[in-house]
Amino acid sequence: MGLIEKFLHNPKAPRWGVHPDDHKRPAADAPLRTLPLPARLYVPLLQHVGQPARPVVLVGQEVRKGQLIAEPQGRISAPVHAPTSGRIVAIGEITAPHPSGLPFEAITIETDGHDRAVEADVPADPFTLAPAEVTALISAAGVVGLGGATFPSSVKLALGKRSEITTLIVNGGECEPYLSCDDRVMRDRAADVIDGVRLMLHCTGAREALVGIEDNKPEAIAAMRRAATRFPEIKVRPVPARYPMGSDRQLIETLTGKEVPSDCRAADVGVIVNNVSTANAVHRAVRLGEPLIERIVTINGGAVWQPGNILAPIGTLAADLLAFAGLKSEPARLVMGGPMMGAVLPHARVPIVKGSAGILAFNEDEVAIPEAGPCIRCGNCVQACPIGLLPLEMAANVRVGDLQAAASLGLSDCISCGCCAYICPSHIPLVQYFSHAKGELWAQERDKLRMEATRKLAAERAVRLEREAAEKAEAAARRKAERDAAKRAEAAAKAAAESAVTEVAE
């Protein structure tokens, strides 16, 4: 922080984080458009944290809009529904929206254009239902956290209820540059969002809801304040625009002054955080009986002709969205999500998922990255880190392969927000170091768990073989005993017969 900045610094503003150019307008101000139904939708089975869903439809089957096509399996999972009516043409692998370019399972639907929906059964007044019943409706609708983490919402709400949280924080921060889908949801659907917030309050038993919105979105703040006037338990709180304000821990600290300890969840300090788009999805699930089958996606970046927000069904290819918005030039890089934390896409033929906030198509000027230089130990990354870690030390340890030392410096608390890499004057790819180290540590941990499991399997097998051998021996002994008994009986009968014969003869 420079000297002048220090004087101008707002004492209330957080000291962590960075303030990148937000590039949100004009995309944020363009009215919401609806994508014409694409010819094919590729609906992935894993669009959430946890176990992938299991398909319950067959190839060739006709489905309707909102019909369940894959059911959840496992404790943390979410169902997947058909985004429109049509025919299932394939269940198989498709490139995932992931930097690795590896495939994952998806259901391909050939749309018929009629958009016929299944009839939904909606409760007349959900507030008369028990919280668990409303949570079940949200679970069945496949609602997941739309802020990016895609954690199944029903699991989170049930956890909030169990831990008796007092405050529900609604995240309208949207601190990532370029993105404006949450802004658009708050401007266009403020009443729906507030209704969703009330439903979530009902599910968790929290007394109040704090809606945190960055102060660079005055229209959204005004719309939400208007919609929330009738509900004193919902308070709209503008927060300073500073990246990463939309990260749950940072927002909790800014709004409540509570710091979530390392290794703890937000629920442990009596708070849960849900995104505004999630609140909107909850409203639609409970009031309209509509599962999570569409979302607002921001199409932005220097290569886009008409940047803006587009309402699109889940499973739309990024290529279809880009074609609809128009491209000025061949994009130099495609990113799903924000520029700070989003995933670089291998190509545009990947589907959007529930957690896709945006598709960014950058031109050459926007992606120019100077070559990484040596660390000059300026400490800018330490200043910027919202968690209070030492990115330079952690990266140095990872670079020489000492992952344990990096872990002891708090690597697991790193949220990969990218502030350190953004601020680094030497352009060191710090986040990549941390992502690599986290992946390696997790792989080692998984290997260890796997080995424990295989050891158990081997031990169980040994026990089983022993038991089988014992059973075999027992069965053989029994058969032998039976044979002997039969022989004896036969001999006895023979003897009796012989004696009878001799008696008769006599």
Binding site: S100, A372, E393, R455
Partner: protein, 181 residues
């Protein structure tokens, strides 16, 4: 002179007796270090290390006749934990070049003879008689016993496939000058 000889003799006798008693009283059967290492090992007794089982391999590691990197199914994680136990450093990169392997079944030539699932130490091979067999990825230690046993060469080894859940970001290419010291 006499006093010195007598006192040293007595001292020697007492201490010697003490040591002799302690050696009998506190004697431990087997090598505790070998047992601790054996507890870390996969326990499937697959024989990939060239020894007759995990316990024997653990003994060899404890005695120093085998290296900490001897166990292929254990991989880097095992080598690291054994090295930590022994207080030695191992070159983990040495293990990476053969990479973890696992079995797979070439379905078109599997005759469903059930021979492989009889030898699999962790029951990772599944399948009934005259049905195509399969491998449970998470249970396979890559020991290769099924490959030797398979009459039609349907069971084969392959590098463990990388999926979305297993992919790890590559380490950034090193800068020419040290990033920090």
């Amino acid at each position: 002179m006499l006093a010195a000889i007598a006192s040293l003799t007595v001292l020697g006798a007492v201490l010697g007796l003490g040591l002799g008693v302690a050696a009998r009283k506190f004697a431990i059967d087997g090598d505790p270090l070998a047992d601790e290492i054996a507890a870390l090992m996969p326990g499937s007794n697959c024989g990939q290390c060239g020894m007759a089982g995990c316990a024997i391999a653990a003994k060899a590691i404890a005695e120093g006749t085998a290296t900490a990197t001897v166990c292929p199914p254990g991989g880097k994680a095992l080598a690291a934990s054994i090295a930590a136990k022994l207080g030695i450093s191992v070159d983990l990169d040495e293990i990476a070049d053969n990479g973890p392997m696992m079995a797979y079944v070439k379905e078109e030539i599997c005759i469903g003879c059930c021979k492989c699932n009889k030898v699999c130490p962790t029951d990772a091979m599944i399948g009934a008689a005259k049905q195509i067999h399969g491998v449970i990825r998470e249970a396979c230690t890559g020991c290769g016993l099924c490959v030797e046993r398979c009459p039609t060469e349907a069971a084969q080894m392959q590098p463990v496939p990388i999926t979305l859940q297993h992919w790890v970001w590559p380490k950034p290419a090193s800068v020419t000058t040290p990033a920090s010291t």
